[in-house]
């Protein structure tokens, strides 16, 4: 059914910290790996083209002293008002009532690509090899997978991020770690004016004056040869 379910209490999603992301693309690569097959066309040719459910952009933001580089991972936001779901003519696209995850049942997909047009965020990509649409599943085959250690029951992108810029949890629970993080850091929605009410939140880069850098400890040795060197170097 492509009608949206009534809003549930549990809303699983991601919180992405733009202050921390280093733009290494590890999340995009592990996503491609875990969610295989995501077909590639002409992979070793001059114009390779493939399906990616997670893509990392890099932006220059601001001017002068406040200017900075921001790395920006982009994937499905599992919106509360997911327009990709309601446009689906076959019922292949659906939003789960129990946890809010937006999924595609590939055996029902006719590959009309209308859901890709309806998504403002470019979260859905058409797999020309399979003739069906592909999207982020929030690694539903990991997060509910009893065969995995509990620590591994998170989306592959979250698990692999070397900088811990990605967090996974229940954004419907105001007391969850991710909700507290969003509240503390002013997490926000992308393109809120379009009314999709995305579940995933982004944490803004901290301002320069927000960065608390502890003063370096005075490591000068108390005496002996090293203290002599220290005095010598200090001039």
């Amino acid at each position: 059914m492509t009608a949206l379910p009534p809003p549930g209490d549990k809303r699983l999603g991601l919180v992405i910290d733009l202050d921390i992301c280093v733009g290494c693309h590890a999340c995009a690569v592990i996503c491609k790996e875990w969610n295989a097959p995501l077909s590639d066309l002409d992979p070793y040719g001059a114009k390779p083209d493939g399906v990616w459910l997670n893509r990392v952009h890099s932006y220059e933001v601001g001017e002068g002293a406040s200017a900075r580089t921001v790395h920006f991972p982009r994937s499905c936001l599992h919106c509360a008002n997911a327009p990709c779901v309601t446009v689906c003519p076959t019922g292949a696209s659906y939003k789960r009532a129990e946890d809010g995850i937006v999924l595609i049942q590939e055996s029902l997909c006719i590959g009309c690509e209308l859901c890709a047009w309806a998504c403002p965020y470019g979260a859905r990509e058409f797999d020309r090899d399979a003739g069906v649409m592909k999207k982020c599943t929030l690694c539903i085959d990991r997060i509910y997978n009893d065969a995995l250690d509990e620590a591994d029951r998170v989306p592959a992108c979250v698990k692999t991020c070397p900088a811990s810029a990605r967090h996974f949890g229940d954004l419907g629970d105001p007391g969850s770690e991710v909700s507290l993080l969003v509240a503390a850091r002013g997490g926000y929605d992308l393109m809120p004016e379009l009314g999709c009410a995305p579940t995933n939140k982004y944490l803004p880069p901290r301002r320069q004056d927000e960065r608390v850098v502890a003063p370096l400890p005075d490591a000068a040795p108390a005496g002996g040869f090293l203290a002599w060197i220290d005095r010598l170097l200090a001039g």
């Binding site: 390779p48 399906v51 890099s58 001017e63 690509e113 890709a116 047009w117 379009l194 803004p204």
Partner: protein, 315 residues
């Protein structure tokens, strides 16, 4: 947006086909068209060919055409599904209408009622087609009221021109249908101009700053795209057309779609015999070619918000 040929042909052909069915249904119900077998057969065959050809063309757009029937299931939420249902539902009154007219040679009240039902279904189908685009918020060029107005007006216009051509060929109600076609052009052309004025004046409300949420820091500029080569998103939704080509194509649309057909209708009005017939037979295909260019441009000009992540400032 990528102007996929299958969709451009589909919307143009079904627009003309449902437009023709609409006028045939109304004209038959009002008793303005001859209850002749041959007239019914030729006109309805033409309408069915356009509509069915368009629908078949749309199936070629699908990644899994063999599952196309599944698209009929979600009419409660999806305009694309509603379009599918409405297009098939049109055959329900249209087939008996065709049987009555083309086989029985009769436009008695029962068949005329079927004609009226066909006209209503035709309007419903084109409205659903337009609503698919009209309800796509990420594409500001489509998400405005001029889109359904244009789809309906252009469908009615091409349908009226084809009706005028058929009537001229049969020498029945030639003057009346030519006037109807002229009136349809006079309505459709300003609507197209108003659509262009609207999209030229509204560059889109969503910015790269809002798409990334980084506006508080300052202006957002793309430094590095996720991949070195063009990807699906850019090919499908990042299609861009040069400004000079856009101006040329708009001029071609105005000429082929409206100006030349109107001129041909005027020639038909002030002439008779072969000249009149030739002018009316020519006006319909010329206008349809114009709408084909218009529809290509409708897709090619439209900008999707995903381009904001790839360096566009507004969409």
């Amino acid at each position: 947006m990528r102007p996929a040929l299958s969709i451009v042909v589909f919307t143009t052909l079904t627009g003309a086909g449902y437009g023709l069915l609409f006028w045939l249904g109304l004209g038959a119900a009002a008793g303005l068209l001859p209850a002749e077998r041959a007239f019914g057969a030729v006109s309805l065959a033409l309408a069915f060919a356009a509509v069915s050809g368009g629908l078949v063309s749309s199936v070629f757009h699908l990644g899994r055409p063999e599952r196309a029937w599944r698209a009929l299931s979600q009419w409660r939420s999806s305009w694309l599904s509603r379009e599918g249902v409405a297009s098939l539902a049109t055959y329900l009154p249209a087939l008996p209408f065709a049987w009555g007219w083309a086989v029985q040679g009769s436009l008695s009240p029962v068949w005329a009622a079927c004609g009226l039902g066909t006209a209503l279904c035709a309007v419903a189908t084109v409205t659903c087609t337009a609503a698919i685009y009209h309800t796509l918020k990420p594409v500001a060029h489509w998400s405005n009221v001029w889109v359904p107005a244009n789809f309906l007006a252009l469908g009615a216009m091409t349908g009226a021109l084809w009706l005028a051509a058929i009537c001229a060929a049969f020498g029945a109600a030639t003057r009346e249908t030519a006037w109807l076609a002229a009136l349809a052009i006079v309505v459709a052309c300003p609507l197209k101009l108003l659509y262009w004025r609207h999209i030229d004046r509204s560059p889109g409300a969503v910015t790269a700053e809002s798409a990334t949420g980084l506006g508080a820091i300052g202006r957002v500029r793309s430094l590095a795209a996720p991949h070195t080569e063009e990807n699906y998103l850019l090919k499908e939704m990042g299609f861009a057309i040069a400004r000079k080509h856009r101006a040329t194509l708009r001029r071609i649309t105005l000429q082929l779609g409206f100006a030349i057909p109107l001129l041909l209708l005027l020639i038909a009005h002030f002439s008779g015999g072969w000249a009149q017939l030739a002018a009316l037979l020519l006006a319909a295909p010329v206008a349809t070619a114009g709408v084909l260019v218009e529809r290509w441009l409708f897709f090619a000009e439209a900008k999707h918000t995903v381009t904001l992540y790839y360096g566009a400032a507004r969409a």
